[in-house]
Symmetry: C2
Subunit: 312 residues, 2 copies
């Protein structure tokens, strides 16, 4: 998956800067994978660990950990905190996919090119594995070792809870659930996605920024704008890909939104205007970075490009 | 429920000490209920808040918050931290019941004398409400207001995560799931319950103790022994009540363990030995309190009595 992603960088950008970003990304992905493999589902009873590892390892674009890394490095963040924060947001993302795929929710049988967790391990194990992954996300942020100041641990947990909970991702999922078969206005659709996918993407950026307690207000404000624009862009592109890509490329069932009669940016704006909107958001994200006062925002800029230009 | 619980204090104990405990308990229950009502499912989108409040409010013995209060007061704990810690453990307990009751787990339709959350709101909403309650439990421990030191916030989150996650409650549930229809040894049964119900009960006591950062190691050791004995006693009594009580008294389906072919202390020890074991554990809990060096452990002692002598 990682090698593929790099191969799919647009040709026009295959200059030194893009190669640098690819190297940067591969290195952070490797550290994230190693840490997840070390921390997830270890010494866990009765098959629970196996289901947790299946849900998390060997798959996923790791966009959220990469956002944490990029933001943390832009502010000169604490290295151990950065690694843990990146893994924590990925666990929240992974648990949400496990629960989302269950029969009572989206009832999806394929994810990242393999059977979903409840298909592989049964519904009860999927439910428990998701629950345990959420708890583990917080546990990872609270090590007794690693010399992360307790104020930073608390701040990271606070941001994660806000991004994951009823005023973040879980709240957005509830709106999504209530909206099936309904005609939403653009502002209602935006509100749903601001919470459902946007909150954890923004949370990733803000957690990265919180890996340095001295990050300036001006930078946090700019990173907030960046994270918000990127969050919307991600969803717009997701909606576009659901229409134009096939299941094999996506690694999950394509055309699902239309089949489920779900409102999307494409159903609302049409394909061309949705594409233009994604590009506009990419530019907004870049502009926010330019205002941040931070010296090194290249990785953040490249991630915004990747989100808009991705093919899966 | 509260009034009933007080009415059910054993007659022999209806002296001044018991009346004091009843007053103590009612006062903490009221503060806990008020706080839960203030904090749970507020400004939460699309019916999610309603399901969260249904799962948490107007029901439950609130044993875990009471343990937090009793332990925190024994060590002279931070008042705001105590209130939040009590509510946080109750939210973890409440979410676990919502998910446990779902069709893919225990498939139970009645809880605390009313329809379970998935019966009332649908499975998808129950799944989401449980997820959101777990996140909220951590959020409650991390207020920016209230002047709780960040070291205490981090410590409380650490204890909650350990009690709730794959090496605590969720791990115990996985063992439970894997054990249906199997003959467990007494030590396997103990290990399952140590995690499934014991971890959060012990966690409640330890979180209470963590509401004062200066609590002595000797006291924490004794409170750990107390919490462990109480945790086992709780489960032994639960197993006894499942056999001897009726559904109306329990507020949930009685005889469920036998019907589900689940191993229990009663199926393993028989009813009389199970009762003797509960009494033995109650005395162990008292002995641990006597060794704690803490001046005021009356409420903790009374809670151990209540756990063993309860009728539901």
């Amino acid at each position: 998956m990682n090698a593929e992603m790099i191969a799919e960088q647009p040709q026009a950008g295959a200059d030194l800067k893009t190669l640098d970003f690819s190297v940067w990304m591969l290195e952070r992905l490797a550290r994230t994978e190693d840490a997840l493999s070390l921390w997830v589902g270890v010494n866990t009873p009765a098959g629970l660990g196996e289901a947790m590892r299946y849900a998390v390892l060997d798959g996923g674009k790791r966009l959220r950990p990469l956002l944490v890394w990029a933001a943390a490095e832009a502010v000169g963040g604490h290295a151990a905190a950065t690694l843990r924060a990146g893994c924590a947001v990925e666990l929240i993302h992974a648990y949400s996919l496990v629960h989302d795929d269950m029969p009572c929710m989206d009832n999806d049988v394929m994810r990242r090119g393999k059977p979903t967790v409840h298909v592989q391990f049964g519904e009860a194990s999927a439910l428990l594995a998701g629950d345990a992954l959420q708890a583990l996300a917080f546990e990872l942020l609270l090590p007794e070792e690693d010399d992360i100041p307790c104020s930073m641990q608390a701040k990271l947990c606070r941001l994660l809870g806000a991004a994951a909970g009823s005023h973040g991702m879980a709240g957005g999922q509830a709106i999504d659930l209530a909206s099936v078969g309904k005609q939403l206005t653009e502002s209602q659709l935006r509100e749903m996605h601001r919470l459902k996918t946007g909150a954890l993407l923004l949370g990733s950026v803000l957690m990265g920024a919180a890996c340095n307690a001295q990050t300036e207000a001006r930078a946090i404000e700019a990173l907030t704008e960046y994270g918000q624009a990127l969050g919307v862009a991600f969803q717009v592109v997701d909606d576009i890909l659901d229409v134009v890509a096939d299941s094999a490329t996506l690694g999950k069932t394509a055309g699902k939104d239309a089949a489920n009669d779900k409102p999307t940016y494409v159903s609302l704006l049409g394909l061309e205007r949705a594409r233009a909107h994604a590009e506009e958001l990419r530019q907004q994200a870049h502009a926010a970075l330019a205002r941040s006062g931070l010296a090194d925002t290249q990785a953040l800029a490249a991630l915004a490009d990747m989100v808009v230009q991705r093919s899966h």
